[in-house]
């Protein structure tokens, strides 16, 4: 793996050179690496030669217009979508094809979805303990204790015995974060975690995410929340038409975007 680490992309060096963000930890070795990744949906080329390295402890925000391939990128990293060519490595290991090895890799990659996707027939507590008990083979008692601690941490400890449908969207999304954290993931993926939420609930979720970032969790976050990006991200990646068009430190990206596409996009999301 030595040759990969010694060939950082321009974007990374620009991120390193940029003024330090609020996420204080120094960045470690590459944790998620995408190399020449291509993906089609039929004739549609949704990921074009994506090269991206996310280092341990880094918080990466992915931003871009609808249909630019952000979700596909996220989903490819834990292989909810297959890729046509190229390579994706998590912690130095290439993504396994199927079966046990893939399941194990997925358990190391936490995923938070736009639509929460809590298991609808299980209580909040069971949602959080299911993975540790069934995948990690932890003792039910230990898993419960940890789950309750995690639920407390995201501020929904008092809802543990309710069903998902009884919680607000913001609460459900925080449970979804706790459910992912319960697996001790190496990296967390967030695919527009706040875009299905009523405005008054967005911040409660972003606060949990920002706290997570501060603790040094490696995160890849698809979001249009500029406040979060400025507050918590080390780097912003701007995607359009399946390509990475621009990578920069958040402050730099939002105040002085370089590409026309990014300028155009930002002017649109800034007007409302």
């Amino acid at each position: 793996m030595a040759d990969e680490t010694s060939s950082p992309s321009d974007a990374q060096s620009s991120a390193q050179d940029a003024p330090p963000s609020t996420a204080a930890q120094p960045l470690g070795e590459p944790l998620v690496e995408l190399r020449d990744v291509n993906k089609h949906f039929g004739d549609l080329h949704v990921l074009r030669d994506i090269n991206l390295t996310v280092r341990r402890g880094e918080v990466l925000v992915v931003i871009g217009p609808s249909g630019s391939g952000k979700s596909t990128l996220c989903r490819a990293i834990n292989r909810l979508e297959t890729i046509d060519s190229g390579e994706i490595l998590v912690d130095g290991e290439p993504l396994p094809q199927e079966g046990k090895a893939l399941a194990r890799l997925r358990s190391d990659v936490g995923m938070v979805f736009q639509s929460f996707n809590l298991f609808a027939h299980k209580t909040i507590l069971d949602n959080v303990t299911l993975g540790p008990v069934k995948v990690r083979r932890e003792k039910t008692k230990d898993a419960k204790e940890r789950a309750l601690a995690l639920l407390d941490r995201v501020g929904v400890g008092n809802q543990a015995h309710k069903m998902p449908a009884q919680l607000s969207g913001g609460q459900q999304q925080r449970v979804a974060i706790a459910r992912a954290l319960a697996m001790h993931p190496k990296v967390m993926l967030f695919d527009e975690p706040t875009s299905a939420l009523d405005p008054e609930m967005i911040n409660e979720v972003l606060d949990v995410m920002a706290a997570l970032a501060k603790e040094g969790m490696t995160m890849i976050v698809v979001t249009h929340e500029m406040g979060f990006a400025r507050r918590a991200a080390n780097r912003v990646v701007f995607m359009a038409d399946g390509q990475i068009v621009e990578e920069a430190h958040p402050e730099e990206f939002f105040t002085a975007p370089k590409s026309e596409r990014a300028k155009d996009f930002l002017s649109k999301i800034l007007t409302h």
Binding site: L80, E98, A103, F113, N117, L130, K134, V135, M183
Partner: protein, 229 residues
């Protein structure tokens, strides 16, 4: 109407009508359990990530759903027992009963499979993705997340399949189960052709009495157990 009822009463004392219904209930009971197991396995095959399993599941459903039950039941006796000497019980009656149960089960499993699949369609795709994302392989994800929700969404179609199975259990006559209702009805008509309306009424009412509770039960269960989203 009064005439028919008195005819019915007379016949009911002369023939073991309740016993005949009991045979159909037993046929239905065992075939329901077998077809539920087989149908669930087929549904799993049809939603599995393995193309050959999906193909086999689809092929099974298309073959058995489109073959008349009478032909399957006749085959059970003439093909399995007559030609291949498949014997499932020491006595004739027991053997034919079991062959009939299997015939009913393999036929209705196709419908159970499709009912469960319609239940699977009520489960949002995000549930399966979340299950995969925490590292559950296909079978545990199906067992813990997909099927429990799918069954709740499939109660109504499963109830309809059960009702069809109960009524179709009369086709066991084609598998030489001679003690069940339609066989008894034929015998009764043969010897009491003047009571034909009474005889029809007896069996029609019997089935209505059996079927109505199934319908009521499944309707109430499917609303009570519905997954709130």
């Amino acid at each position: 109407m009064g005439d028919y009822l008195s005819q019915t009463w007379e016949l009911a004392r002369e023939y073991d009508v309740l016993g005949a219904f009991w045979v159909n209930i037993q046929l239905t009971f065992w075939a329901a359990i077998l077809s539920l197991v087989l149908g669930t396995a087929l549904a799993l095959m049809r939603i599995s990530p393995v193309p050959s399993l999906r193909w086999a599941g689809t092929a099974y459903v298309n073959v058995f759903r489109n073959t008349p039950l009478t032909i399957i039941m006749t085959f059970m006796v003439l093909g399995l027992w007559g030609q291949l000497q498949v014997t499932l019980a020491p006595d004739f009656a027991g053997n034919f009963f079991r062959l009939a149960v299997i015939g009913l089960a393999v036929y209705h499993a196709a419908f159970v499979c499709e009912s469960i699949r319609s239940g699977v369609n009520t489960v949002p795709i995000g549930q399966a993705e979340a299950a995969r994302a925490i590292g559950l392989p296909f079978l545990p994800a199906a067992r813990l997340i997909i099927l429990p929700q799918a069954f709740r969404g499939a109660i109504a179609p499963l109830g309809n399949t059960l009702i069809a199975l109960l009524k179709n259990s009369t086709v066991a006559a084609a598998a030489s189960v001679t003690t069940e209702t339609s066989s008894l009805m034929k015998t009764m008509i043969e010897f009491n052709s003047n009571y034909i309306y009474g005889i029809f009424l007896t069996f029609a009412i019997g089935y209505v009495i059996l079927v109505i509770p199934i319908g009521l039960l499944t309707t109430s269960l499917s609303t009570r157990l519905a997954v709130r989203r």
